[in-house]
Structure formats: structure tokens, C-alpha cells
């Protein structure tokens, strides 16, 4: 029903799947930020030690990784929607979309680097 | 004038219930069919129908189409043609099931069948007690019907010309109709639609009255076209006044309110219909109830004597459940337009012009009839009329509530079937000459070129006032003579009126001028017919001739554009049952 090239740049190329991914990743991110929020409530003025200790716990790291992945998916669906709403000329839209993906990939690996360098 | 030429097997003018049922019938036949509509199909007046559509399905109790036929003939005050009424009532159930299969979202009974409610004049066993015969979609039956038909026409890929306004029929020297001239409202483009069969489905003309339940588009376009093409209108004096319209605007409050148990009260709180119709009470037929209200108002028992007088319709006793599930649209209308929530307070109502029983005379296949040699019926080749603009004569002098949607459906279908057969058996395009087309163009050219003269607004308003005051619920010789005189003068003035705006693109002023030509034709014909019929029958109620006179007036009256009058016999020969002999009509 809709032009294929436009659709192809969406995360899954399918509205229902994109929608589910967006919701699912939102829930994960929500819980993740709730955990972080809890950490800062218990440690309103953390120092390096407390913070690095918290991020060396395995489940925190795994959860952080999952959250990073969720962020990637969530942001891609969201930003893709925003771009396709407002940017109509195909070359510009394509560039923006490609740039966004690139950024998200960089963030993802940057995040892994931050979490895993002090293993 | 530049004209585009289109050629079709069939052209249907009007996309209301009857037009779209006919087009659906034809679309399945593989023929080339065009539907011209001056509004988008879903804006047609059918959409406003509320209460329901009658058919003897017997879902609530035992029922028989013969009982339905009896009620309809009696309701018509014996002016209805019995062969057509028989056909309609007999085919009603089939039509209902067809609609249901098309997806019409009928309300349902506990057992899953189509919900049926009581309506005025519908009885069991030839007049014994109240029948629940009216199939309903809450109180939005017309909306549901129209949308269902539109949707099925989309499915059938019907070719719609939306916002095309038909101006006049093109008739050849032999008197056959070869198509119509129409204008595309959006662009001003004019076109000749040449067709083997032209079907008029243009609806009523309730806008000849000042206050009417009718949509603004109900301007009798098909009637004007037929009159100008030399065909007559039949029974056009018969105008139904719906008992319950909101005072002022004339917004319709469906009879289903009374069918569900609501009733009328006067300012003393009295349920006055018990006095006028001891058995049927508020469910007597519409002419009876409207007259009763008018008499109450005349006796000073209205709520606002001296001002805009009205009685009230009480339904709060039905309870919120019934009102919200069966009459939700009525509640909305009453709150919006009368500032009264029927859950709590009664709704102010007054008789309001509602329906035109008369129209272009046709046989039961929808073929238009005119008078030929020695005043004998002559079928106009190539022309059909269906729906409110037609007078197959199933409503006679008074239509029963919920029989109009049925009329649309049954005769829309019948005309479609007949036209399909005619075209498939080799009906050719009717031959025409250039002059035939030019003749049909004269009217629109006049409006485009006339630079002087008065605006149409005054003429329009005066016509409505005359109709309202001299041809309303009660009629009397002197005022009708006066009224007709005024109308004739207005008609002359209209010939000289001018259009200030002659632009091409979506010029609604021009459409209104063309519509007024049609309204004026219908108003004059109505006045002439009303003045001529010297008796009281059904909706035609004369104070100077208060009795029905079967000896002299049990006949159809036809009026031509020059206001000459003639007569046709009423058909009293149903096919499969005994004729129904005129009896005294009591409810």
C-alpha cells in the first residue's frame, strides 16, 4: 500500500513490528531508568567508588547493555518517524536517516566501551 | 456553448437510496452506468431518515405482507395504486435481506434477527392492533442505508460523477429521452450525457415550504426537468406534514419516538391523541396526527399561543436505556436544536412539511408515464423515475411512516432490473438532433446572460411564504386562489430575475437559481392540483370540502407545466389478492 523505499528504511519495514519494538524497548528503558533513579535516591552524592562498584555488578552491566540496545531500537523507530513526517525530499531524508543510524551505532559501541573497559 | 459528450448505457440522476440501489443493480450487470449527483452521495437526503423501513418479516410476531398492504392502502386513503403497493409489500422482505447481506448494521433482537419496532398506521391482521413491522438501525436507519448502498457501489465500481448538477432532459422529436445536460459544479464544465436509459432519482421538493424537515438540497430538480420536458406530475397536491418537527428549523423528530412508546401532550398535559384516534392514539397515521395537533393549537392548547406555537412529545418515561439505545440521535438533536434533553423534559414539536407523495407518474418498473393520444397512458421511452421524485403511487394521499425507505429500495431495484433487461435486449441510443440539445440548454443560458432584473432571494422567500400560509395542513378555496395567483406572478418575475455571480468555479449561486426554477415549477403545480381537488383525502385537507368524495375524486390528478389538469384512474387490480374496497378511515 505504501512506497517500498520509504518503508524499507523503517526498523522492521512493518508498522506492527516497529510499534511493538517501540513499546517493548520503552518498557525496558523505563525500568532501567527506574533502577538508575533508585541508585541516585540511595546515593544522592555518589563518589567514583560507589558508582564504579555499582556498574561492575554483572546484572547491572547486562541490564545496561540491554538498555543500550533498547535505546538504539527505540530511538531509531522514533527518529525515523519524525524524519519521515517532516523531511519530504528523498535524498535529504535518506541522508538524515543514514546519519541517524550511524550515530546510533556509534553511541551503542561507545556505551559498550564505557561499561566494559574495567572488566 | 462548449459541451463535452459522454455516452453511457444508463445514467442515473441522484445518489440517494433509490438511485444507488438502481445503480447497484445495474453495476452487477456489466453495463456502462453513470451516477450523477449534485452532492457527494453520502450527503443525499436519505441520510436523514431516522425511524426505519417497513417489511413484514415477522421477527417480533406473526406478520403477513398482505396486512402490510392493507395498512398501506388504507393509509393512502385509497389513492394508492394497489398493484404497486402489492409489489412493494410483497418484495419488502427480500429487499430487507439483501440490505442485511450487504452489511447494513440493523439493530437486533435477542434471537439475533433484525429488530422491528411499531410505527404509525402499521397494524396486524387487517387493522387489529399495533404491528412491529419497521426494521431499524437505532434511529439512524437512513444513514445506515445510504452508507451501505454507497459502500456497495464502491465495491461494484460504480462510476460516480459527484457534484454534477443535472439541468435538463434531452428529448427528441419522437418524445423519447436521450439523456441529460449537466454541469460540473466544481469547474463549470457542461456536458451532455447521452444514454439509452435515464433514471431520475432526484428526491423530493420539500423546500417549496418555508419550514420543512427536508435537506436544503431537496429542490425538486427531477420534477422540474420532467415538467419542462412536457411530462406531468401526479398527485402533487399530496404533501405530508410530519407531526413532529422541531418548531422553527423543522428538524425531524422521528415517529419511532412514538413507536417506542412516547406520546404527545398539550399544554394541559393531556394526551390528546386519545380523543382523536381512540385505538391507535399517537400511532395513527401521520395526516391524522398532524391534523389533530393543528386542531389543538387552533383551540389554544399549544404551549406558546401567539408565538411559535407547539405541543410537546413526552418520552422521559421510556427510561435512559431505551432512549440511549433506540433513540440516541433524537436525543442529540433535541439537545442541540431545542435545548431540551428528552431524558428529562418533553420535546417541543409541531407539524412540518416532510414528504411529497406525488411526483412523476410511473408504472411499477419505474418507467415514466405521460398522457398520450386520447389521454391514454403513454410510456416515455428511455426515462425512468424512482424514489421520492416518482409517483408509482404506493403512498397515495398519505404515506405511512417507514414506507418511504421501502419505496426507494424496492423500486430502485425494480427499475434497475427492468432497465437492465431493456438495455440487454438491444435498446439503442435514442437519435437526437443538435436542436434537441440546444433546447435543453436554453434555461442555463438565460441565467448566464440575463444582466438586469431582480435577485432571486426575494422571489424564493415569497414563494415559500405563500406555500406555507396557503397550502399547509388545512386548505381553503379563497386563500388557495390568492396563493396560486401570487405564485403565477412570482413565476413570471423569476423569468426576468438575474444572477450577479456568473463565475464558473463552484458557483453555488447559479445552482440555487437553477434550483429555484424547479421549486417554482413544483410549487405552481402543487397549488393548481390542491385547488382542483375538491375533497379531503389523506394529507389534502380542505375546510370547504371536509369529506372524502370517492364518487368524484377517487382518481389521480395530473398537472402539466402549463398548469393544465388531467386525470388517471387509480389501479384497483392487485395481481394475487382481492382488491381493497374504499372504507371509512378510522384509527
Amino acid at each position: 500500500m505504501v512506497n517500498k523505499l520509504t518503508t524499507d528504511m523503517s526498523l522492521t519495514g512493518n508498522g506492527l513490528r516497529d510499534w511493538i519494538v517501540q513499546r517493548f524497548s520503552a518498557v525496558i528503558l523505563g525500568v532501567y531508568f527506574f533502577v538508575l533513579f533508585g541508585f541516585f535516591v540511595f546515593h544522592p552524592h555518589p563518589d567514583y567508588l560507589i558508582l564504579s562498584e555499582f556498574f561492575s555488578v554483572t546484572w547491572v552491566r547486562v541490564f545496561s547493555l540491554i538498555a543500550l540496545l533498547s535505546l538504539f531500537l527505540h530511538a531509531w523507530v522514533g527518529v525515523w518517524t519524525v524524519i519521515t513526517d517532516y523531511v519530504k525530499p528523498f535524498p535529504l531524508r535518506f541522508l538524515l536517516e543514514a546519519f541517524t543510524i550511524l550515530l546510533l551505532i556509534i553511541y551503542f559501541f561507545w556505551g559498550i566501551e564505557i561499561l566494559w573497559r574495567f572488566v | 456553448m462548449k459541451l463535452t459528450n459522454y455516452s453511457f448505457d444508463a445514467v442515473i440522476v441522484g445518489a440517494g437510496g433509490s438511485g444507488m440501489y438502481a445503480s447497484l443493480q445495474l453495476a452487477h450487470s456489466g453495463l456502462k452506468v453513470a451516477v450523477l449527483s449534485k452532492v457527494y452521495p453520502t450527503r443525499s437526503h436519505t441520510v436523514s431518515a431516522q425511524g426505519g423501513i417497513a417489511a413484514a418479516l415477522g421477527n417480533v410476531h406473526e406478520d403477513d405482507w398482505r396486512w402490510h398492504m392493507f395498512d398501506t392502502v388504507k393509509g393512502s386513503d385509497y389513492l394508492g395504486d394497489q398493484d404497486s403497493i402489492e409489489y412493494m409489500c410483497k418484495n419488502a422482505p427480500t429487499a430487507m435481506y439483501e440490505l442485511e447481506h450487504m452489511g447494513m448494521p440493523f439493530s437486533r433482537l435477542e434471537n439475533g434477527k433484525i429488530y422491528q419496532r411499531a410505527f404509525g398506521g402499521q397494524t396486524l391482521n387487517y387493522g387489529q392492533g399495533v404491528a412491529q413491522r419497521t426494521c431499524a438501525v437505532a434511529d439512524r436507519t437512513g444513514h445506515a442505508l445510504l452508507h451501505t448502498l454507497f459502500q456497495n457501489n464502491i465495491k461494484a465500481k460504480t462510476h460516480f460523477f459527484n457534484e454534477w448538477y443535472a439541468i435538463d432532459l434531452v428529448k427528441n422529436a419522437a418524445g423519447d429521452v436521450a439523456g441529460v445536460i449537466a454541469i460540473c459544479i466544481a469547474t463549470g464544465e457542461m456536458a451532455f450525457f447521452n444514454s439509452k436509459v435515464t433514471i431520475l432519482a432526484t428526491g423530493g421538493a420539500g423546500r417549496i415550504f418555508e419550514t420543512s424537515t427536508n435537506a436544503l438540497i431537496n429542490t425538486g430538480d427531477g420534477l422540474g426537468m420532467a415538467l419542462r420536458a412536457g411530462m406531468p406530475l401526479q398527485d402533487i397536491e399530496m404533501w405530508q406534514f410530519h407531526p413532529t418537527g422541531l418548531p422553527g428549523m423543522g428538524i425531524l423528530i422521528t415517529e419511532a419516538v412514538r413507536g417506542e412508546g412516547g406520546y404527545l401532550i398539550n399544554k394541559d398535559g393531556e394526551r390528546f391523541m386519545e380523543r382523536y384516534a381512540p385505538h391507535a392514539k399517537d400511532l395513527a397515521s401521520r395526516d391524522v396526527v398532524s391534523r389533530s395537533i393543528a386542531l389543538e393549537l387552533r383551540a389554544g392548547k399549544g404551549f406558546n399561543p401567539g408565538g411559535m406555537d407547539y405541543v410537546k412529545l413526552k418520552l422521559d418515561h421510556l427510561g435512559a436505556d431505551v432512549i440511549n439505545s433506540r433513540l440516541p440521535g433524537i436525543r442529540e438533536l433535541a439537545i442541540t436544536f431545542a435545548h431540551s434533553d428528552p431524558l428529562v423534559v418533553p420535546i417541543p414539536v409541531t407539524p412540518t412539511c416532510h414528504y411529497m407523495m406525488g411526483g412523476i407518474p410511473t408504472n411499477m418498473h419505474g418507467q415514466v408515464i405521460t398522457l398520450g393520444e386520447q389521454d391514454k397512458d403513454r410510456i416515455v421511452e428511455g426515462l425512468y423515475a424512482i424514489g421520492e421524485c416518482a409517483c408509482v403511487s404506493v403512498h397515495g394521499a398519505n404515506r405511512l411512516g417507514s414506507n418511504s425507505l421501502l419505496d426507494l429500495v424496492v423500486f430502485g431495484r425494480a427499475a434497475g432490473l427492468h432497465a437492465e433487461k431493456a438495455i440487454k435486449s438491444g435498446l439503442p441510443l435514442h437519435p437526437i438532433r443538435e436542436s434537441d440539445i440546444e433546447h435543453a440548454l436554453t434555461r442555463v443560458e438565460r441565467w448566464n446572460t440575463n444582466k438586469n432584473g431582480e435577485d432571486i432571494k426575494t422571489i424564493h422567500d415569497e414563494m415559500q411564504k405563500v406555500m406555507q400560509s396557503d397550502f399547509g395542513v388545512f386548505r381553503i378555496e379563497e386563500s388557495m386562489i390568492e396563493g396560486l395567483k401570487k405564485l403565477k406572478a412570482l413565476r413570471e418575475r423569476l423569468k426576468d430575475a438575474r444572477l450577479k455571480d456568473t463565475s464558473q468555479i463552484f458557483n453555488t449561486a447559479r445552482i440555487q437559481a437553477l434550483e429555484l426554477d424547479n421549486l417554482m415549477e413544483v410549487a405552481c403545480a402543487t397549488a393548481m392540483a390542491a385547488l382542483t381537488r375538491k375533497e379531503s383525502r389523506g394529507a389534502h385537507s380542505r375546510e370547504d370540502y371536509p369529506k372524502r368524495d370517492d364518487l368524484n375524486w377517487l382518481k389521480h390528478l395530473v398537472v402539466f407545466s402549463d398548469l393544465s389538469v388531467n386525470y388517471r384512474p387509480v389501479n384497483m387490480r392487485p395481481d394475487s389478492v382481492d382488491p381493497l374496497k374504499p372504507m371509512e378511515r378510522v384509527y
Binding site: - | I114, I154, A215
Partner: protein, 232 residues
């Protein structure tokens, strides 16, 4: 009372402009905007607008009145702050004055196959449907196709061709909800791309402006639910 009305006739005007009119509105008048427009047309017959049933069931006279899409015939003048500003429906091509082009709107409607589909041989009488099953259609079938919602929907503004819009989707929901319709899976499959349904962001402008008090946003949510159910 002052009315400021959007005027444009492509035959004579280079571009649209606003024109002011003065209408006598009695103090405690019941007048609706539609009647005011008719009075204005009496002053100036070149003003074009659509109207038919004048009671809110035909859907002809949707327009933007004081910033909101509504039906002129259901909007009391007394409910509005003067000057009353009347513009055509938002984001639809103007044919002339307050008259807009409905072509795209009806194309979107047709996309959802707005008709009952059931290939089984129908019974001799009606198909049965319980009152409860029928009640599932309430709030869906009453749509009058006035386009107030779709023309007021930001998702339709940005993707008028790819996003079906609230009105079309309401009709999709109506046929998905009908127990007599057997094309559910095909209907859902046709709507699964990222645009047709999923551009809806539950902004609810549709629900705010619907003159029939319907809730297209909730109907669209219902379509998504059905897809999730079918997909899992």
C-alpha cells in the same frame, strides 16, 4: 456580529484572503453558524460553501471555525467569541472559498475496503447477530464522512497520502468489528505497513473535533490490538 471569512476564487483572486462581514445576530438567538453563512450569502452571493441536511448527519458543512474543525450547522454562534473566523477545512485543497476538494479523503476511505466482505452463500433470510455483537459497531458506523477529523489530524498533515487518516480507519474498525465480515485477516494485513495505521500517535485531535462524538483514536487503538492478537 463580525465574521471574518476565508475567500478565494481562482478565476479572479491571486491568492486567498480574509473578508469581514457584519451579521445581525439577536442577543439570545439560537442561530447556528450555517444560518449566519446563509445570511452572509444573502449579502454577497459570491460566497460559496456546502450545506445539505443542516442537522449534522450529511457531513457537508465541515469547516474550520475559530480554529477548530466543526460542522457549521451544529455550532451555535452564541458559543463563539467574536470576531468569528471561518476558514476551509485544514490542509485540504481549496476549490473556492470554504469548499475543499474531497478526492483524496474519499480515496483514503476506499483504501480500507469499506464494505462488508463475506464470501459464504448468504442464508435465505438475514444473517444472525446478537444484540451484543451488534453493539460492537456502535461508535463506529455513525461516521458521516465530514472529514473534520482527518483534516485536523497532524499525522494526516505530514503524510496525507500514506496515512489513511482517522475517518478511513474508523471505517476499517467498523468492518473489523462486524461479526458478519470474514475478511479480518486480509484487512489487517493490508494495514500493517508503517504508515496506513501506525502514523497515528494518539494525538486525539480527531476525537476532539468529531461532531458526532465518535472516538477514531480509540478505534485505531482497537485495530492495533486486533493486529497484536492476530500476530501472536
Amino acid at each position: 456580529m463580525r465574521f471574518s471569512i476565508y475567500r478565494y476564487n481562482p478565476e479572479t483572486d491571486a491568492k486567498p484572503y480574509m473578508k469581514d462581514y457584519e451579521v445581525d445576530v439577536p442577543h439570545d438567538s439560537d442561530m447556528m453558524v450555517l444560518q449566519a453563512l446563509m445570511l452572509i450569502k444573502d449579502q454577497d452571493e459570491t460566497l460559496s460553501f456546502r450545506a445539505s441536511c443542516r442537522e449534522g448527519v450529511c457531513g457537508s458543512d465541515g469547516m474550520n471555525i475559530n480554529g477548530l474543525n466543526r460542522l457549521a450547522c451544529l455550532t451555535p454562534v452564541s458559543s463563539l467569541k467574536a470576531p468569528i473566523t471561518i476558514r476551509p477545512l485544514v490542509n485540504m485543497t481549496v476549490i473556492r472559498d470554504l469548499v475543499v476538494d474531497f478526492t483524496l479523503f474519499f480515496q483514503q476511505y476506499e483504501k480500507v475496503q469499506p464494505y462488508l466482505q463475506n464470501h459464504a452463500e448468504p442464508p435465505a433470510t438475514e444473517r444472525l447477530q446478537s444484540p451484543e455483537e451488534r453493539a460492537a459497531l456502535d461508535g463506529l458506523y455513525e461516521c458521516i464522512l465530514c472529514a473534520c477529523c482527518t483534516s485536523f489530524c497532524p499525522s494526516s498533515w505530514w503524510n496525507p497520502e500514506k496515512f489513511i487518516g482517522p475517518a478511513g480507519l474508523l471505517w476499517a474498525a467498523r468492518f473489523l468489528a462486524d461479526t458478519r465480515d470474514t475478511a479480518t485477516e486480509e484487512r489487517l494485513a493490508n494495514l500493517q505497513d508503517p504508515f496506513s495505521v501506525y502514523r497515528c500517535r494518539t494525538i486525539m485531535n480527531c476525537t476532539v473535533v468529531c461532531p458526532k462524538n465518535l472516538n477514531p483514536a480509540a478505534a485505531i487503538a482497537g485495530i492495533r490490538h486486533k493486529m497484536v492478537e492476530k500476530g501472536s
